[in-house]
Amino acid sequence: MTLETKEDLETDNVDVVCDLLDKLVLKQLHLMEEKMVCELNIESCINNGSIHLAKSRYIMGQSSVSTARLPMESSPEFSALTTCETTEEDDVQQLKVVENNNKSKVNPIRWFGVLVPQNLHKAQSIFQNTINVVVECVNVQLQLFENMRNIDALKKYVCLAKS
């Protein structure tokens, strides 16, 4: 009698876990779709920004907007304007964009000259916005990781219960 109830309990538990697995798998599909949408947003942002970079290159000259203007290892140290901070939401690690308050920061647009065309300013604001989209995409990715971890754990439980 006791053995039977124990078995019943276990089958009940497995059913509950299987229901949970179904929900997690559905969530997984939604997160995958969300990630793809984010990536497509990043793509359109990058394409938009690149057009403005190309326009500034046309106005200022080929080498004016190129890697030659970027700081190298020999240039003086400086800090990033935008960084990200870790927060925790529903036990899932999430990131958020924060402005850096460090004194040793420089406006990157100055690397390309003092009087730069309007297009470079536009490109800058587009890429600043892209950083927000990127962090959003990373957050979806982190949720996806957490979801995969949960699915794995539940699958292991079902395997153990069945054996």
Binding site: I46, T83, C84, L144
Partner: protein, 124 residues
């Protein structure tokens, strides 16, 4: 009081072609730390794969980096190294470039996520 510096946020690093690097650095993610180590790498057609691998591994090891952005066409060159990186942080995000549109079937994370719906896996 002066010792109590504000908690510094983590960096976003980028490995990509000229336009991607120039764009994101213009957006303000670039930094050169006091050891003169930049958090970006510009990849052109002459860049060796070993160089890419070294740079990626260096960024993964740095504890001040939380996100590594890498162009998908560049990621294809060092796919084995990216597949081997399974930790959630630093997050490796494959981004499209202006010449190479996004291909979801190549993305490491999505492939791993899709692998969970493997028929062999479901039978278990």
């Amino acid at each position: 009081m002066a010792l109590h510096a504000a908690v510094k946020g983590k960096l976003i690093s980028v490995i990509g072609d000229e336009d991607t690097c120039v764009g994101f650095l213009l957006g303000g993610i670039g930094e050169i730390n006091k050891n003169r180590h930049p958090n970006f790498m510009v990849v052109d057609k002459n860049t060796a794969v070993s160089e890419l691998e070294d740079c990626f591994k260096r960024f993964v090891k740095r504890d001040d980096i939380d996100i590594i952005l890498i162009n998908q066409n560049v990621a294809e060159l060092i796919r084995h190294v990216i597949d081997a990186h399974t930790a959630p942080v630093p997050a490796v995000l494959e981004i499209p470039s202006k010449d190479h549109p996004y291909d979801a079937s190549k993305d490491s994370i999505l492939r791993r996520a899709k692998g969970m719906f493997n028929p062999d896996d479901l039978v278990r």
